[in-house]
Point group: C2
Chain length 578, copies 2
């Protein structure tokens, strides 16, 4: 069985393998999820009612031996933004699904008597009762599921906040050690999953057929070039920035740039940020016998991940990513890795997206629910969420929701989704991306930080608004393609600077699909994906007024650069109206 | 001083009388508030930040001796809908403001050190400290204000929920007895007021110049014809329906029609509804020495109001309107007037719109926070709001907000505003009005119930979708005119059936303004107002997708007629795209 679409009907608890329509056959990841959501989900439907669907798709090359290619896209209509959502994750689950010959899973309808679990292996598909692993934390649930189904399985699920059908509920995957620490976190797709009546998907790829290669020679040649580039570039190579310090290496860099949002986006630089830097964390992981570096999925050559633990290697959490450390740390005025680690553990356990969770706590701090810097108070809020109290439900619905509940008008969100760790007033290109991506504020949608701060793939002045429409657009198009390939976005640090690497990446895709894409096709493929996404949003009722940053960022200057967001609305509208 | 615009700057605590621009001079009420909001408020601004404004305008003939003409419009950008809002009220405050020569008050900017009180009298304008009457219930506050400023003053204010900047916060006016029971309830304008730093406006019209009449003869002739019509028509005459039973007379009528939403819009008819009917209530008011009939403002000939009390005439609440009785009663499965009365008292005291409050409690009941029919529990929820607990804040932000917090997808709201007491599946024209009015679900915006149920102004089948676009459009245009005149909407029961009455109404307007409007002009004037409102909403990011009823009403049939909302989206789009 190869290249199949698995349709899961939760109304009738039936499943069906279908041939992938020809129009979808050369797609993968985001290209596939966004095409299917656009095609099959009524844009105006309520995201938590029966007409929404949840779509899972590994990337084009996922499941092969291509380096750092274990990405999976999850798509649907977002309960957080009200628009189309693609949220992607690096996990062995992606590779297992691809090797099982499944290009895409579409979950539709609603099973009323909650909850079910879907098993997929090389023998077929079946449902099981998920209640034994429901209404408990995901660390316990994933351990229990592995006891039941075996250590070799890969698991996807949604947590207690998904069961609440709260808008900040991610879809959670295991890391190679089985910890629930890999996330399609953004946009509330966990609630979409839970509202289908589906709590977990358990994969076992033993005996799976694997992924067909249309042109093995081409594939080998390409992956070799790409691997070379990844192992050469300073950011991605073994012993390089990501490998040594993880994504959290960005704390010092962005703080230095005056763009690390702190105290709910009130200032961009604070000396205390060094306490939660990647360097400090790597040192501490060594001290406490955690694991670093670490691959989030098999076959990753970058290995930016890690396993954070309590002292002595106790109670492993999983990775503490830059965005998580920032949002649960400095953005809340918290500069303590132990507190951040425990907050991250709580997010993983509950099924919360860390970016949205930290942004929400910071808004709650501004709203007077607790003081900035109060880590104990922040952890208590996580207990409120776990217990499903009214306070917990306010917080589980994200930053904008909490802002309304608490009378806070400084809410750093676009299309209802909280901003990640780059203040758009100090890195203007990121503001353009946050505003215009169909996803809501999302750094991965068009990471202009590369040229604006890291001098990767060019060099741009972060404080200037000039040329940022074009910059964001081109990076967004390229990203939509990368999000479809199954390659980790971090491969682009290398491919942006090393032409052979980009060449290799494209060849590897051609090797799998039998296509003859060139570098010129990439932007075109990405463009088509984003056009579908924008069309969905338009039909859902979005307009250019949704492609804006919050008013306070236009009105209020951010220290230390004392810049407001001064990219004009005309420039924002130029991004996709050209 | 006549025909002045009073501009109140809360940043600098300064006030200024301006001449009304020529373009606004013949407007009043809604025509004036919507024109000014359209002109002066940036459509994309955050409703609770400094760029929003709050506009008060009595109607064209308000302050004169015209019958039943004490209406005031309040306008601004709504924190509940995100669109333009006009919410109007019948109150002596309207007449006092008009007699003081003030055609409109514009409150702009934000005073940070909360709260101020604005005094306007024939001597001028001044600010006072409002803190002694803040953070307390409005019954106590209004009594205190009358002790301070005299029994003769008229008061406008916002309550505890306004101070919370919650989206279900009305603007509250005193009735002739001084009770805080007259409401510009809808759309959260109380939060807009409080976020300006303004808590109360106190008017004293002693020595006021009164309203100029351009053509006294014409005015007298007109008001006489209108008064005759009002005193002849069965609905509006002394001893007629409204006078005898108040608006609550509709309970039996709409229940009989199978369109009285009960148990959160789950059924349209229930025998128990009779227990809270206008007839039952009038009888009970007599038993307990309340007041009925009663005028909500001086010079009303309809006198549909009342003063509900506890037994023995204790603890007067004010009027229990049909919409309030329904929302706090049958829609929550509560069929007990005493409970409804105490819930209404709590709404008045806190500054909550009763329609939104009842819809929110019903959603909370569906979400499992309490059982349907649990009046004691509902009253406890009001205490939660008063205390500003997290649960209270969820509820104070309205039905849609509570639905998201509690995972309820059956939320009867349009543009974020909860529906009033007519299920659109059983009165299709009301669904067209709810969907298409720029205001969010609002029965007063285009009351098709008149021809669909009451055989007033024609006769239409309520269950048929045919012709309802035209019907709703024409009534919406006519209503926008009436909302500008200062006449109570109930005058249209008489003018729709008695041509002389309509003639008189128009003559009275001409008598005040010196215009020569004819019946043909009315729809055109109303149309222009709605076009401005729609333009504001469009610039705020609204599209035709916002002109829709919630998905569940299209999918789910309402007993006893077992009808879903089957007016097509094309028909909805026809209303204003013709």
């Amino acid at each position: 069985m190869r290249n199949k679409l698995l349709r899961v009907n939760m109304n009738s608890l039936t499943t069906k393998f279908e041939d992938l329509p020809k129009s979808l056959r050369n797609l993968g990841g985001r290209g596939l999820t966004s095409s299917i959501v656009k095609e099959e989900v009524p844009p105006t439907c309520h995201p938590l009612r029966s007409n929404n669907k949840l779509v899972f798709a590994p990337g084009m090359v996922t499941g092969t031996s291509a380096p750092s290619s274990g990405r999976l896209s999850v798509g649907g209509k977002s309960p957080l933004t009200g628009g189309i959502k693609e949220s992607n994750v690096g996990t062995n689950f992606a590779q297992a699904l691809a090797r099982l010959g499944v290009k895409v899973i579409i979950v539709e309808g609603q099973f009323d008597d909650r909850y079910k679990l879907l098993q997929v292996d090389s023998e077929g598909v079946s449902f099981a009762d998920a209640t034994p692993w429901s209404d408990i934390g995901l660390y316990e649930a994933y351990e229990g599921l592995r006891q039941e189904f075996g250590d070799q399985v890969d698991i996807c699920g949604t947590g207690i906040v998904g069961e609440m059908e709260a808008a900040n509920s991610g879809i959670v995957f295991n890391d190679p050690e089985g910890l629930p620490s890999r996330y399609s976190g953004r946009g509330g797709l966990g609630a979409v999953m839970a509202s289908r009546g589906l709590k977990f998907i358990v994969l076992d790829d033993e005996g799976a057929p694997g992924v067909d290669l249309a042109d093995e020679e081409q594939f080998r040649k390409g992956t070799k070039k790409l691997t070379n580039a990844l192992t050469e570039h300073d950011v991605t190579k073994p012993g390089g920035t990501l490998n040594s310090y993880g994504t959290d290496a960005m704390v010092d860099v962005i703080n230095e740039a005056g763009a690390l949002p702190q105290f709910n986006f009130s200032k961009g630089r604070d000396d205390r940020a060094a306490k939660v830097s990647g360097e400090a964390k790597a040192e501490e992981i060594k001290n406490r016998e955690g694991t670093r570096p670490h691959a989030c999925h098999d076959g990753c050559v970058i290995q930016c991940s890690e396993i954070w633990t309590k002292p002595g290697g106790e109670d492993p959490v999983g990775v503490l990513e830059y965005e998580s450390v920032w949002s649960l740390g400095p953005n809340c005025g918290i500069y303590d890795l132990d507190t951040v680690g425990e907050l991250n553990r709580a997010c993983n356990d509950l099924g919360l997206d860390t970016i949205e969770a930290g942004a929400t706590i910071a808004v709650a701090m501004e709203g007077g629910l607790l003081d900035f810097g109060d880590g104990t108070g922040a952890l208590e809020l996580m207990d409120e969420i776990r217990e499903g109290t009214s306070k917990g439900r306010i917080l589980a619905n994200g930053a904008e929701f909490a802002g309304q509940a608490l009378g806070v008008t400084r809410v750093p969100a676009v299309k209802g989704q909280a901003m990640p760790a780059y203040d758009p007033r100090a890195i203007k290109g990121m503001g353009v991306t946050y505003a215009t991506t169909p996803m809501g504020a999302d750094h991965t949608a068009g990471y202009t930080v590369s040229p604006e701060i890291l001098s990767v793939g060019g060099e741009e002045d972060p404080l200037s608004s000039e040329g940022k429409s074009t910059l964001s657009r081109e990076i967004q198009y390229a990203t939509a393609f990368i999000d479809s390939t199954g390659y980790c976005l971090f491969t682009t640090f290398a491919t942006a600077d090393i032409p052979k690497g980009e060449e290799g990446l494209i060849e590897s895709v051609n090797g799998v699909l039998g296509t003859d894409y060139t570098a010129d096709d990439i932007l075109e493929i990405g463009k088509k994906i984003i056009e579908k996404e924008r069309q969905f949003n338009k039909e859902a009722g979005f307009t250019k007024e949704d492609d804006r940053l919050p008013e306070f960022m236009v009105e209020e200057e951010l220290p230390p650069h004392d810049e407001s967001f001064d990219v004009s609305v005309e420039q924002l509208d130029e991004v996709f109206e050209t």
